[in-house]
Every structure is written in C-alpha cells, then in structure tokens.
Symmetry: C2
Subunit: 448 residues, 2 copies
Amino acid sequence: MQKSAIIIGAGLVGSLWAVFLSKAGYKVNIYERRPDIRKAEISAGKSINLAMSMRGWTALETVGVDEEIRQISIAMSGRIMHDLDGKQNYQPYGKEGQAIYSVSRGGLNAKMMDIAEQRGGATIHYHHKCIDVELEKGRAHFENTETGEKISAQADVIFATDGAFSAARYNAFQKLDRFNYSQNYIEDGYRELLLPANADGSYKLDKNALHIWPRGRFMLIALANEDGSFTCTLFMPFDGEVSFNALKTDSDIQNFFKKTFPDFYDICPNLLQTWHSNPLSSLAIVRCFPWTHGKVALMGDAAHATVPFYGQGMNAGFEDCSVMYDLMKKHNENWPAVFKEYETLRKPDGDAVQDLSVQNYFVMRDFVADPRFLLQKKIEGRFSSLHPDKWTPLYTQVSFTNTRYSVALATGNRQDEIMRKVMDRPDIEQVWDSKEVEDAILKLVSEK
Amino acid sequence: MQKSAIIIGAGLVGSLWAVFLSKAGYKVNIYERRPDIRKAEISAGKSINLAMSMRGWTALETVGVDEEIRQISIAMSGRIMHDLDGKQNYQPYGKEGQAIYSVSRGGLNAKMMDIAEQRGGATIHYHHKCIDVELEKGRAHFENTETGEKISAQADVIFATDGAFSAARYNAFQKLDRFNYSQNYIEDGYRELLLPANADGSYKLDKNALHIWPRGRFMLIALANEDGSFTCTLFMPFDGEVSFNALKTDSDIQNFFKKTFPDFYDICPNLLQTWHSNPLSSLAIVRCFPWTHGKVALMGDAAHATVPFYGQGMNAGFEDCSVMYDLMKKHNENWPAVFKEYETLRKPDGDAVQDLSVQNYFVMRDFVADPRFLLQKKIEGRFSSLHPDKWTPLYTQVSFTNTRYSVALATGNRQDEIMRKVMDRPDIEQVWDSKEVEDAILKLVSEK
C-alpha cells in the first residue's frame, strides 16, 4: 500500500512540503480552509512582500523547483535608506552577487500549489476547515465551509502547516497536558500601501533594493513587484503620540506622510485610496512546545510564527522542510524517531529566528540611520573581508548561509560584545580602518 | 429591572463573587460544567490543600462569611521541617498569633456554594459547559452535558471564574486580535497522598503546622484535615534521575520513601494504596492580557493561574473580588470604567503573585534546610522586631497583610539585595545579633 500523508494548510510551507513528501513516495492530501487562491482574486493587504534568501533557495533546490521561482523574483542586493530630505543612501546586504529576492506571497503560493499538484501529485481539498485532530491516531476532522459537511481523513502521518493561528494546534495540541504555548503581540501594527508603476510601466524607485524610511520608533518599507509597482508597508505603534490610532482623519494621514516621508508622498498620488483599501493588522510571536505528538507535527508558522523584520518567516518554514526531510532519510522514515529529533534539534532555531526578528526591527527602523551603527558595520565589513574565516557578519549568516539560527544568534551576540569594546575607543572615527583596530579585533576574536 | 450578572464557574472564586454581587443587588446565575459537588462524591487527588491567609480572610469578612469558614479551618502557625533522620525543626511563619489556615478545597467549595445560594440568592446551573461567549453583547452559550441541549444566557455583566483552563477565555478571549497569552508548565508534577488518622482518630503529626520534607530538587508536604488525616503532596520532576517517571515499580516507590522520607514511611502504612489511587498532575503558570473585553471579565485562575508554592492561588482570586468590589463602588458600577481600572491595576499583582510562587518553591524545597538561609531569616526577624516600621519580612507581607503583591515582590527583592551584603561578612555567624550588624542594615535600608 502506498504511504500516505495529510497536510493541513496549503500555504507556502504546506505546498512545498507536499513536493518533498511526494518525492519520498507519499500520497499527499492537502486540506485548506480557504478557496483556491488561483481562482479567487489574490487578496492583497495582508501579505508583506516576501524576501527569499539562502535557506529558502536551499529547500527549493532540493526538490528542483528553484528555477521556476527565480523567474518570479526580483533581486535586492542592499537597502536604500530614505532620509527626511528625500536623500537616498545605499547599504549592500553582503558581497558582490549576494542578494535577497522580493517575491509576492500570492504569486509564490499559487506557483507552489501548481507544483505540488502537478509535480507532487498532491490533491488539494479547498474549503476544508480543520475542526479537530486525533494526534495519536493520525486522524483529522474537517468541516466543508460551503456545504457544512463533516469529513474525516486518516494517514500514516500528518503535518500542520496552517500558520500562526493553526487550527490543528489550537484544537488539538493546545489541549494537551503540559503543552507550553505563548502568543505575544508587539505594540506595533502594519498597514500595506501600493505604490503604482509609472504610466509607462516603469518603476518609481530602484527595484533592486529594499527601500526603508527609518524614523526611529516606526518605519516605512517598499519591495518591488514584477509589474512595476511596489508593495509598501508602514510599521508603527497602534497607540501613542505617533501611532495608527492618532491618524484619525484623511488630512492627518496626508500631513503625516508629507512631513515624515516627503519623497514617498511626492510619488504616491493614490495615498488615501491605497491607505483605506488595506486593513490595519497586528503582529505576534507564537512559541510552543512540543512541536510533535503521536502522528502529527507542526511546521512553519504553526510551530514558530515570528514578526517579519528579518524576512525569515518563510525561509525558516522552508528550512523546516529541509530539516524534516534530512531526518526522514537519517531515520529511514521511522516517524517517532524523526519527530523526536525534529523538535529537539529545531526548537532552539525557532526561538532564535524569533529573537533575531525582534532585534532586526530596531536595526531597520532606527540603527540603519545612526552614523555610529554604520561605522560599526563598516569596521565589521572591513575585518570580515580581511579575515573571512574569522568573522561572518550576522546578516550574512542569517541570509546568505544555512548556519543554524541558534548558532548565528550566539555568534552575533559575541560579535556585538567585541564591537562594543572596539567602538569604545574615543578615536575610533579616525582609526577605524587602521592595522591597530584590525589587530585589536583579532585579539578579541581569539580570546574565545 | 433588577441588575443581572452571569458567573461562569462555581469554584471558590465564582461562588464568593456571587455573594459580593448579590450584596450589590445583582441577580446572579452561575453556570458550572461539573455536577453539584455537594451531592457527588468529593473528588480528592487534585486538590492540594488550601492555605487561607490574610487576603482570603479580608474578602470573606467583607461579605460576612469568615466565621463560617473559620469553623472548618485549622491554624498553621509555622513550618515543621523533617530531615533525613526524621528530626523535626520548627520555623514560625510570623509573630505570635499569626497563622495561615489549612482548609480542604472540597469542603470550602461546598460551603461557598451554600452561602452563594442561601445568602446570595444565586442560582447555580450544573452540567453547563461554556462553549462560547459573545464578549461585547454579554451573552454566553452553554451546552448541557447531560441532555446535549444548547442554551444561551445574557446579563448586564459576565464574570469568568472557570479556572486555569477557562473555557470562556479559550473560546472567546484567546480568539481576540492582540490577546497576549501564555501557558507554561514547570518541569515538576505532583501526586497527592492521604496520611490517615490514628485508630483513635488522633493526628499522626502536629496538626498546627505545615509539614515539609525539603530535599533540594523535590519535596513532600503535609497539611492537616479536620478528620485527623493529612493531605500530603509530593512535588518532583516528571523526568530525570529522581523523578516520577523513574519510579516504575511498587518496590521503587517503597524504596524511595524508605530512603528519602523515612519518618513519613514509618507512619504511612497505606503508601502504595494511596499512591495508586491519586493521579499524577501537572502545574502551569497562565498569563494573559487584557483581562476584560466588552461586558466580560476574567477573575482568579482564569486571569492569572499560578503554581501552589506560596499558598496564594485562592487568596489572589479572593483578593480579585475585593479589588473588583472596591472599583464597583468607586466607579458607581460604570462597568467599562470598573473593568479598565481592574485590569490595569491588578495585572502587575497577578504577574507578581506568579513570580513569588515560583521563588517560594526554591525556598520550600531547598532553602528552608540551608543553615545560611536560616541565619539570614533570623537576622531579618531580629531586625524586623527591633524596627518594625523599617522591615516587614516578605512572607509576612504576602501572607499577613493586604499589601499589593507587586509591592511585596519589589520590597522583597530590595531586602534580598541588602541581606546579600550583610551575609557577605565573613564573621556573620558570630556577629549576627550584634548592634554593628543592626546598624549596617539600618544604613543600607536608609540608602534608598
């Protein structure tokens, strides 16, 4: 009899994981609460453009679907900061040739579903809302949201990839004794805005960069779409002096943009219309443990939803697929052994990518505009190019390697300690590119 | 029309709060998932005997039911530690006349239900499982677990007092956007044991103390019941070298007790029988916020469930009633204003009682057997009796005053800092009761 798997949720991670499982010989049934997004209108407004980086590509390459995705992605080799005068300042993300890739969530998801069905032979059942999972039996229960019909399905193994508010987790895992769980909302929300293309279809900003308007306690970002437009996102506190709730009228909104993002305001004639056509959304970090029970495993956001500030949510979910797949092979598909090692090995990385994501919010909204931070990054960059075996910058570790997140975080913290000492020199601005500073870092690095 | 309230959960806090609301002129309907515990057999095994202290008594006095409860409680004026040789060592909890009171959860709950019905005029509906709450409308939905019938009820205001795993919180609050929530299980579980009375009905241990067998990483405690027996509880890790899961056979259990709690083993002939008749249970801390939404408020464990090591879970819940009642009067029953101040004012105290409870586990299972800790407590006790206006020991603040938990915690931390400096003197064991040490503490206290 053919091996069988159920996947709950046909999002990015679910549809990619279906391809992995098919490759391993499993008959895969995917149950998805929503209608087929390829037939429905693709819903904008709650997407946050995605940035595919190394970990994502690595997983896609394993199942041979990376080329198709590259065709719908746009390379971003660095950040462009926009200051209050509209002046732009470019910071490369890594070395020549290194980039992260802007890709639309809707487009990517549709593509992944195509691949899961056509290449993976998966069957996707739409309008199926998960109402319960019998974890030890490997049986899931769904309600058809169109007909009200209740159906059950059983398989050798079940994967819940149904996102930060996973119904499988809520209805089954969260009722287990000794299940640790937390959902913590940050104080900030976000609202998407669409910056349209020029009349001739050309881009209004450099498409090969991630644009940031860093303003200390809040920020605006923009990532290019394939059609010449940019998906922009304003991140800001819900409440307080400068906040979403303080922008009560249309003129409040216009004045805020005119004053705070003047160059953006000048090129975004449809500001009010795009503002009102997108919802205000919240941002949460979800932690839980264990990630597996009986025949069921949580993957992606269902296990470790994070805030989007390192562009690693999808990449972490795709890396879950790589990790699970390696363990399937290692343990010869002995699922209890696979699940045990998956959750033990991967949990510290889930925690770490969340910590990194929170840290990077401060970097993006504030530090990138701070001359001391920029000088520190220059010193790190110089040292790293002179001694690449001794220093890989944190951003590079996270975005351009497959180093475990937990290791990257620990190394990054250690580097920060070293750089605090280096930056303490009163004459650091004069001597930053000296042999003396290089030797001082060498000494500090070798100390541990 | 008479003012109306719904209470979800007829536990200790729910039935006490019904008396408060009745006093304020509300018609109260209580919906309880379980059958009437006064008619069913009182279920032991998951109770952990309760220790009523000042905050509990204060709430009971407000509605004039303290005398009835005193009649079913047993004063415990201190701890008796049992060492490995069976030697006993007494530590008073406070000053002469200060005590906490052992009371059985089942007995207390039955009594509170009687009072709510007879004195409060409340109606208790049993077998009603809460399946949903419309928070803004003040409408709650229940399923009768005997008949399957679904019923709805509406009132001016609703209180969820349905415990750590509150169905009202789970089905309604936990689905709200931006609701912060965490449930964290500690590594330890507990199992209750019943130490019976002597044949003549007398107690096998001093009934006016809380007995502790502190063993570092785990502990056994015993609290007296009215009938001559003691309810004992073993707290221990689930897993590891010394753990519940390491005790696999009856002889493992007997050997463990013989070696670890020899004096207890000698007086507990029914060890195996009582061991097997009680379940192994887990312990969690549940935090959430906000505690109110629309017409509904969470109180007691539903808002801030804690571990039992300070004996404050029930006391904190009863104090919620005092706080809510004071705010009802302050805001003239303007419920939106009451709810806003209730959650803002009380949340730091909910967090603090949880932190205090975790801290006190270390005190009970470990420090109470540490000569340095005992010396520190002697020095604090001496200083406090010489300068009662300058030093109230933490245990006294928590158990014998109505000082806010958050203030007690902060004061306790400050006292710990001071005592660390005092205990650092190499000759402290010789000079602990000297004027010099007293003056040193006076100076440290005045520094901030």
